[in-house]
Symmetry: C2
Subunit: 336 residues, 2 copies
């Protein structure tokens, strides 16, 4: 017996059942009674916990963190924690493993802890209304968007840089410095997620400048860990491909890619310029300092909490903010 079965039996949508189970006001009394009767008759218990149905809602916000190897998230988490506290709410924190799905984890956490709202720190870009109906409280996509999904803009919030545009600007900067053979490193180019958007921005910048995309220079690393950046760069060098610059999807992977370059006897930036997106404080202390598009992490974190609170307390509709990333010039890019 699943939430789908209850919905079918009552002749309503899954999201309606979810709203009833979460005591939301936007359901007619008639439908509410029908759904609750079906729930009782079938012994359906969401999330296997009977007490969930009787406990009243807490004053807690759930925060689900994906991609925990990324220092960018560690820094934002501090701001998110402080902001949630400042609004007088508790934070229930979960670090997800790579193979956990944040929507399922969020839905379970919401019921277990009777949360008032959810903040996803990193996640998929392709949510559908059907799957998000599992979530019965307001939520914010923090540092990502729903570019490949089908959600209605009013049904959720997001705060994120424009990934396409930021990648476009990073690669345009390399081109303006005289580079034309520009390698690129992504998780995967068709992940319907951050890598795909940034890959599209890379391609657009090249094409606009009359440079055709050379698949031999596009490395799909299969992950976002430092090892992935290191191994990806090493493989590209060993392939014999010629390039004078590299655009890397994140700072941490770029730091590792710079090590691979040096381990292969290549100098940064003389033999290969490197630019990345994130702009961590850490990468101001690499040698050379990493040139990067800086994500305004504190602003993204603060705005995400502010918007979530407005949805939780005032029932506001979804809001979508695109703070601007900016170029931090370091020593890892030189003119050609």
């Amino acid at each position: 017996m699943t939430i789908k079965d209850i919905a079918r039996e009552c002749g309503v949508g899954i999201s309606t059942v979810s709203r009833v189970l979460n005591n939301r006001p936007d359901v007619s009394e008639e439908v509410r009674k029908k759904v609750l009767a079906a729930v009782e008759a079938n012994g359906y218990i969401p999330n296997n916990s009977a007490r969930d149905l009787v406990r009243s809602r807490s004053d807690a916000i759930g925060v689900l963190v994906r991609g925990t190897g990324n220092l960018f998230f560690s820094d934002m988490l501090k701001t998110i924690s402080a902001e949630i506290d400042r609004y007088g709410y508790d934070m229930v924190l979960r670090f997800l493993r790579t193979d956990d799905d944040e929507v399922k984890a969020g839905a379970i956490l919401e019921r277990e802890k009777k949360l008032r709202g959810l903040l996803f720190l990193g996640g998929r870009f392709n949510y559908t209304p059907a799957e998000m109906s599992l979530i019965g409280v307001p939520y914010v996509c923090c540092s990502y968007t729903n570019s490949f999904g089908t959600l209605r803009e009013s049904d959720f919030s997001s705060v994120s840089i424009d990934d396409f545009k930021t990648a476009y600007e990073a690669v345009s900067f390399l081109i303006s410095a005289g580079h034309r053979r520009i390698a690129a490193f992504f998780d995967a180019c068709n992940d319907h997620s951050i890598s795909e958007l940034r890959y599209d921005g890379y391609c657009a910048a090249l094409e606009e400048n009359g440079i055709s995309v050379d698949p031999a220079l596009v490395v799909q690393t299969g992950g976002f860990e430092m090892e992935d950046g290191y191994n990806g760069m090493k493989k590209l060098i060993e392939s014999g491909a010629e390039f004078t610059a590299a655009f890397v999807v994140s700072d941490m992977m770029a730091i590792a890619a710079m090590k691979a370059l040096r381990d292969c006897g290549k100098r940064v930036p003389e033999d290969c310029s490197v630019i990345a997106i994130d702009g961590l404080k850490l990468s101001e202390f690499t040698s050379p300092t990493l040139t990067a598009m800086v994500q305004p992490g504190a602003e993204i974190a603060q705005e995400s909490v502010r918007i979530l609170m407005d949805m939780v307390e005032n029932g506001s509709e979804g809001v979508h903010l695109r703070p601007q990333a900016y170029l931090r010039t370091g020593g890892s890019v030189c003119r050609r």
Copy 2:
């Protein structure tokens, strides 16, 4: 009206008042009544929140994180979060600012959230029984100890490497590689904390090998941030002091110190070898790879939660574990 005034009025110790306010069993019924009467007569409310006195204890553990710039703590926090969850408890997390005192913050959090136990991730090494009487639940010092304090071993728990011994081993390794002019970088040498213990280990290794400590080579950086490591190394080089190796109190500061060396035209390790304590994954991707004493962070985190749970659920006495740090050889140390 403070807890001290209540204690004085009742002719009991502060810790007794604290035990009464926290509903602990180890107080006689007579004393309990006397204290509660005084509390009521004086309108004394701990932490300004009337509901604290009536709310029953939660199933939550407080985690207070100090030194948030340190990636070592970010990594351990993931393990701590997962372990607390596995034991079926909620985690209430607070990131402290540098000027916050973790004991005061912990005592407030304990009352506000009716916590069952506290885990301090980093903190001072000089607690006294008087100040810790503010804390009415079991607590564990995670990654540090009470070396400069006066707590009874049975009254608290700690899980930490042996800072003195680990520093001693790091510096002994440099000496065994032929170095005798070894610089050292600490927050402060008499901070009654981690730096003082590691400074003592540095001195002991030198002296045992017939090398006298040269104050000109000991840099007190005044902080643990990357900037502090960078500026400290730069200052030492500009002072004209001669040295062939450096022992740095943490990986993050060592990464920054290596950058300062390079920015001043010095090669690592040819002109200056570098060793640090932490052994982050990140510093396997610096160029050269940082040679470091590795703290077993996951073990420290896991054991801290296990011990805390044993104290919370079974009333166990304090336990003190000293997991062994081990040498990870990289490329930042060469023979002289």
